[in-house]
């Protein structure tokens, strides 16, 4: 019956989103963009796509940062339109999609304050999808307890702090741990939410969120090599879901470099199939493979109708497109045209 009642509330946003997805840049657009000589050319080519004439700082300053800011503003505009048109579970779903950006912004601001940077500059660097009112007030906190009690308790992030408060001062290390704990809570909460929505949404988002959990586990393992994070602490940061849970996590915790991680991954589906496609063995290669797998999942979920997974997938695809544009713009500005095709994924 989900097919018969989905369109009641969510038919219009879904159809709009499929229109957005159809307007993403394709191979022909990227081929044209890679042949551009300078940023003005890039802007001209983008004007004929869905980006249109880019507004904002990029009109006067021709820098890559301004260009990417203008492109991200387009993503935010589309996202906000979708949120306006949605109600009920879809609205909550879109709110949950914003949480990772909020977490990143919080960590950015707090770590910026540690290095004595000014809040207005930091606010400009924040991702627009993750803005909320109390963000500017984060500068007042000096340890995690204060961070929670004074500022974050009124925000959507409040429930993700459960069980992870400590009186420790906010150093870089503890900030990273805090970020990972928040992400862990968020993934598990999102999984529960999609389970309650049920139907195709639960099935599609389970796949996405399992992959996300695995990806974070791998990232934590690789990034904590050489730090004094104990194995128990590391396992505490891994999510309670994903293909690598629980046996993979047990094997991943003692891994010290990319080789060992690859060995662990080759024992679990779907990673053994992905890994068999390459022979390179370093952090960058693992990252590349996982990104490509994620993009495959995102494109694949559009073949099913009447579920919310497409909203999540579209945000991922659009962000990848913006990263592609950033790579292309940087290569053009730094005159490295021979490498321009390496970083573009679609």
């Amino acid at each position: 019956m989900e097919m018969a009642t989905f369109n009641l509330k969510d038919g219009y946003p879904e159809a709009i989103l499929r229109g957005y997805k159809g307007a993403l840049l394709n191979a022909a657009d990227y081929a044209l963009l890679c042949q551009c000589e300078n940023l003005d050319d890039v802007k001209m080519h983008l004007a004929s796509t869905t980006y249109g004439t880019l507004r904002g700082e990029v009109e006067s300053h021709n820098t890559t940062t301004a260009l990417i800011e203008a492109c991200t503003a387009k993503l935010v505009e589309e996202f906000e339109y979708l949120q306006c048109q949605s109600e009920g579970p879809l609205y909550e779903f879109l709110e949950m999609c914003r949480i990772p950006h909020m977490i990143d912004n919080v960590v950015l601001i707090v770590s910026g304050c540690l290095h004595n940077q000014h809040t207005p500059e930091l606010l400009e660097k924040c991702h627009p999808l993750g803005m909320f009112e109390q963000l500017a007030a984060l500068a007042v906190a000096s340890n995690m307890q204060e961070l929670y009690q004074l500022v974050l308790i009124d925000t959507p992030l409040a429930k993700y702090f459960e069980g992870s408060l400590s009186r420790e001062d906010l150093t870089e290390m503890h900030l990273e741990i805090m970020r990972n704990m928040l992400y862990k809570s968020w993934i598990e909460d999102f999984h529960g939410f999609c389970g309650r929505v049920g139907g195709t949404t639960r099935q599609v988002m389970s796949e996405f969120l399992s992959f996300e959990a695995d990806r974070r586990a791998i990232a934590i393992t690789l990034n904590s090599v050489g730090t004094d994070l104990t194995r128990e602490d590391k396992r505490g940061l891994f999510c309670g879901m994903g293909a690598l849970h629980p046996y993979g996590h047990k094997d991943l915790a003692p891994a010290e470099d990319a080789d060992q991680v690859l060995k662990v991954l080759s024992g679990y589906a779907p990673y053994n199939a992905i890994l068999s496609l390459t022979t390179a063995e370093d952090d960058q290669a693992i990252d590349d493979l996982l990104s490509n797998h994620e993009l495959d999942l995102c494109r694949g979920c559009f073949t099913q109708q009447f579920h919310y997974g497409i909203f999540w997938a579209y945000i991922k695809l659009k962000e990848q497109e913006i990263r592609n544009l950033m790579w292309i713009a940087e290569c053009i500005v730094q005159n490295m045209h021979n490498r321009i095709h390496d970083g573009v994924k679609y």
């Binding site: 018969a4 369109n7 009641l8 038919g11 159809a15 499929r18 229109g19 307007a23 109708q305």
Partner: protein
Amino acid sequence: FFFIHLALTMSSENPFGFEFENFQRLLDIPMDISPYNYAATGTGFAIALSVVGAAWGIFITGASLLGGAVKEPRIRTKNLISVIFCEAVAIYGIILSIIFSGKMEDGDGTNFTDTDWYSGFALFNGGLTVGGCNLVCGICVGIVGAACALADAQRPELFVKILVVEIFGSALGLFGVIIGIVMTTQAKFGG
């Protein structure tokens, strides 16, 4: 007290005692309702359930069509065919209910002949048949129509292919109409 009562009532011919009498009266109810009532209710089901199916299908298709047409205006006119297919389901309901109500003629209100009873039952169940078939047909055409609009927005050549699926779905309503007519050809009141 209960067992004494049971023993006394079970002494009669009916093995169930007093309960059987009430149960027998329950079985009498269907024949206490006038066959005209059955016929009219069947006519009502025919049109009402058909319209529910058509409306359901139209809103399913319409929501997706609206959203898809924002980014791809060219799909607007072609995909109205899906809406027309859903509408056809309601029209089947109208035709059948007009035919059914044409069969109901004036007659004696108390002495019903066997033909009257037959007609009442035939029209009631014929109406349920037609209404039920059209209800699910409308939902089916609506869901396929939504998919058709979204696929057409991405790739124009898919439109005709998915339309074939819709035509097959539309045939379900026709099956209901045919059977409804076959069930009620012999129905005749009065006379």
